[in-house]
C-alpha cells in the first residue's frame, strides 16, 4: 500500500488572493454544504457592499506596538492565502489593517484586548477587516478578540508566531442576535513556538469561524479549544484545519458545544493533515456536543488524513448526544431539582474547558454568559 503524496481532501487545494479564482458557492460544495448561504447577507456572492462599519479599539499591553496600516503594508498577508470565497472577499475588501507587534523577547505584562464593535449603517451593509498579530522570536503575549454589537462582517486574522515564541489568543464571539460573521484565523508557527487558541462563540445569527494552523519548522505546538452555546435559530459553525507539513510538531483540538431550541444548528469540521514529511507528529482532535432539546442539530465531522507511517500519535473523536438521563437521575435522587441538575451537568460539560481560560475576567464573563444561556 503506497502513500499518497497529496492530501485527498479537496477543501484546502485552492489558495489565491484573487477573488475571481473562487466561484460563488452554491451550497453543494463540501466546504459550504452545512452553511445556510441565504443568511450570509451576500458575504459569499460579492453583493455585500462595504458600507457597514466594525470599530476596532485596542487596549494594548505596554510592551506591544499597535498600528493601523494600509493594504500595501509589507507585513500584511504574508502568512496565508485565502482558501475560500469569503476569505478572498475579505482580503480584497478591507481598507485598513490593524497590526499588533510583540517585539523580540518581550513578555507582555497584560493581555492586549481588541474590541471589535459592529456599528451597523442604516442600510445593514457589510464590513471587512484584517488583523495581524506578529509575535517576534522568544516573545510571549496574550491577545483577546472581543466581538460585540451588530454587523455583517468578514475578516482574516493572521497570527504569526516567531521562533520560540508563545501566543495565547482568546476570541470571543459575543455578537448581537442578528450579526453575521465569517472569520478566518490563520496561525503560522515557527520553530519551537507555542500557540494556544480559545474560541468562545455565543452570539450572532450566523457565525462561521475557520481557525487554521500551519507550521514553518519543527517543534511547533498548537492547542485549540472552543466552546459554543447555540440557541434557537442560531447557526454556529467552526471549521478547524491543522496542516502538519513539518516533522515533530504537535496539535490538540478540543471543541465542545451545547445546543438548545428549535433550529439551533452547530457545525464542527476538524481537518488534520499529516503530510509525508511530517514525521513524529503528535495530534488529537475532539468534538463533543450536548443536545438539550428537540429541534436542535449538531453536525460533527472529524477528518484525519495521515500520509506518513511515522507518527508519534494521531487520533480523533466526535460525540454528540443528549443529556444523559442517568446523570440527571442521580442528581435528582439527591434532591436536586431537574433544572438545576441540568445546569450542573452542562456547566460541568463546558466548564472543564472554560477553566482553561487563564484570564480571570474573560473566564468569569464566559461563565456568566453560560449561566444566562442556561436560565433562558
Amino acid at each position: 500500500m503506497g502513500l499518497n503524496e497529496k492530501p485527498l481532501s479537496t477543501l484546502h487545494e485552492k489558495a489565491s488572493y484573487d477573488l475571481g479564482d473562487f466561484e460563488v458557492p452554491t451550497g453543494r460544495e463540501e466546504a459550504w454544504r452545512f452553511t445556510p448561504l441565504s443568511r450570509l447577507k451576500g458575504l459569499h456572492s460579492g453583493k455585500a457592499e462595504a458600507v457597514g462599519h466594525v470599530r476596532v479599539d485596542v487596549d494594548a499591553a505596554p510592551e506591544v506596538t499597535v498600528e493601523t496600516v494600509g493594504r500595501d503594508d509589507a507585513r500584511v498577508g504574508k502568512s496565508f492565502m485565502p482558501t475560500d470565497r469569503v476569505s478572498a472577499q475579505a482580503w480584497n475588501s478591507f481598507e485598513k489593517a490593524t497590526v499588533i507587534t510583540v517585539p523580540r523577547e518581550a513578555v507582555t505584562s497584560k493581555a492586549t484586548v481588541l474590541t471589535l464593535t459592529g456599528e451597523p449603517a442604516g442600510n445593514g451593509g457589510a464590513a471587512y477587516g484584517h488583523i495581524v498579530v506578529k509575535v517576534e522570536p522568544l516573545a510571549e503575549a496574550v491577545v483577546v478578540l472581543d466581538h460585540r454589537g451588530s454587523a455583517v462582517y468578514a475578516d482574516n486574522i493572521e497570527f504569526v508566531v516567531g521562533e520560540g515564541a508563545s501566543l495565547k489568543v482568546v476570541s470571543l464571539q459575543d455578537w448581537a442576535d442578528d450579526a453575521v460573521h465569517v472569520s478566518h484565523h490563520h496561525a503560522q508557527l515557527a520553530k519551537d513556538s507555542t500557540f494556544r487558541s480559545f474560541v468562545v462563540t455565543l452570539g450572532g445569527d450566523l457565525v462561521r469561524l475557520s481557525p487554521s494552523v500551519t507550521y514553518t519548522a519543527p517543534g511547533g505546538d498548537a492547542d485549540m479549544s472552543g466552546v459554543y452555546f447555540v440557541d434557537a435559530g442560531q447557526h454556529l459553525e467552526h471549521r478547524l484545519l491543522v496542516d502538519h507539513s513539518q516533522p515533530n510538531c504537535k496539535s490538540n483540538v478540543d471543541y465542545r458545544g451545547a445546543l438548545q431550541g428549535e433550529a439551533a444548528h452547530a457545525v464542527w469540521i476538524g481537518d488534520v493533515i499529516i503530510r509525508v514529511e511530517a514525521e513524529g507528529t503528535d495530534t488529537y482532535e475532539l468534538n463533543r456536543n450536548l443536545i438539550l432539546t428537540d429541534g436542535a442539530r449538531a453536525d460533527s465531522v472529524p477528518n484525519l488524513e495521515i500520509l506518513t507511517g511515522e507518527v508519534a500519535g494521531a487520533g480523533h473523536a466526535s460525540a454528540s448526544g443528549r443529556l444523559d438521563d442517568e446523570h440527571i437521575f442521580y442528581l435528582q435522587a439527591r434532591g436536586i431539582p431537574h433544572d438545576e441538575a441540568r445546569r450542573l451537568v452542562v456547566r460541568g460539560f463546558l466548564g472543564q474547558l472554560i477553566e482553561k481560560i487563564e484570564i480571570d475576567e474573560i473566564r468569569e464573563r464566559v461563565l456568566g454568559a453560560l449561566e444566562a444561556e442556561l436560565s433562558r
Binding site: H327, F329, R334, G335, I336, H338, L344, F349
Partner: protein, 248 residues
C-alpha cells in the same frame, strides 16, 4: 418517627412484569434486609421507589408518612426523605464532589448550609469513611474505584440524613476492609434510631456487620418468606435454590 409503606407494588420494564405485588413496611429505628438471587427484582424495587424513569408502576402505592411517593418527581421524593444508595453510581464529568454535595444538601434542607459548617460536616464525614479529602475536588465518581464509590454513597446518606434509606447492594464488590468501613457508616447512620434502613443484598456477609431486625426473601418479583436475623443464617447454609424452584 417515619414509616415507609409499600403496598402491593407492581412494576414493569418495557412491558415485562418484574414486581408482582410487593408489601413491606419499614419504620424508623428498623433495619430490613431484602435478600434474593440475581434477577429476582430486588434492584427493581429500589429504583422504582426512587423513581427511575425506566420503570413503569403498574399498580400499588409507596407511602412515606402517608404521602404517596409515586406521585412525586425523583427530586421531590429525595426531599421528602427518601435516599437510594446506588449499586452503580454514575460518573458525572465536570461536576465536583463538593459542588454536588453542597447542591444536594441545599436542596434537601431547603436552605444553603453555612460554608464553614458544611466544610466541617464534609470533612468529618470523609474522615469517618476514610475518604481522602482530595476527593472533594474531584469530579463526581469519575475514576473512583468500586469501593470509593460505595463509601461516597454512604457519605451522601450521612450528610443528607434521610428518613428512610434504601441501600442497593452497597456491599457488592467491596473487600473486607471497605465492607467494614461502609458497615460502620450504616451503623452510625441508624444508631440515631430516627431512620429506617432497607438493605438489599445478595450475600449474608454484610449482615454480620449490620444486623437486621427483619429479613425478607425475594424471588420472582415478590417477597416469598420473612423472618428474623436467623433467616439470613438459613440462607447462608442452604442458598436460594428452594425459592427459585418454587417461584419458577
Amino acid at each position: 418517627m417515619s414509616t415507609l409503606e409499600i403496598r402491593d407494588l407492581q412494576v414493569a420494564v418495557e412491558d415485562k412484569e418484574i414486581l408482582r405485588g410487593v408489601n413491606l413496611t419499614v419504620k424508623s429505628g428498623q433495619t430490613h434486609a431484602i435478600m434474593g438471587p440475581n434477577g429476582s427484582g430486588k434492584s427493581t424495587l429500589a429504583y422504582a421507589i426512587a423513581g427511575h424513569p425506566k420503570y413503569t408502576i403498574t399498580g400499588g402505592q409507596v407511602l412515606l408518612d402517608g404521602v404517596d411517593l409515586l406521585e412525586l418527581s425523583v427530586d421531590e421524593r429525595a426531599r421528602a426523605g427518601l435516599f437510594l444508595a446506588m449499586q452503580y453510581p454514575v460518573e458525572v464529568p465536570g461536576v465536583s464532589v463538593s459542588n454536588f454535595l453542597r447542591s444536594a444538601v441545599t436542596a434537601v434542607r431547603g436552605e444553603a448550609p453555612k460554608l464553614r459548617e458544611f466544610a466541617k460536616d464534609l470533612k468529618g464525614g470523609m474522615d469517618a469513611l476514610s475518604i481522602d479529602p482530595a476527593f472533594a475536588q474531584r469530579n463526581l465518581n469519575e475514576g473512583f474505584s468500586g469501593g470509593e464509590k460505595k463509601r461516597h454513597e454512604i457519605l451522601q446518606m450521612e450528610l443528607l440524613k434521610p428518613k428512610i434509606a434504601v441501600l442497593d447492594e452497597t456491599d457488592s464488590g467491596l473487600d473486607v476492609d471497605a465492607l467494614r468501613v461502609v458497615s460502620e457508616g450504616i451503623n452510625r447512620f441508624r444508631s440515631s434510631g430516627e431512620t429506617g434502613v432497607l438493605l438489599i443484598t445478595h450475600y449474608t456477609r454484610i449482615l454480620r456487620y449490620v444486623t437486621p431486625d427483619h429479613v425478607h426473601v425475594f424471588a420472582g418479583g415478590r417477597i416469598v418468606e420473612e423472618g428474623g436475623p436467623e433467616l439470613a443464617e438459613k440462607l447462608e447454609a442452604e442458598g436460594y435454590e428452594q425459592y427459585t424452584k418454587a417461584s419458577a
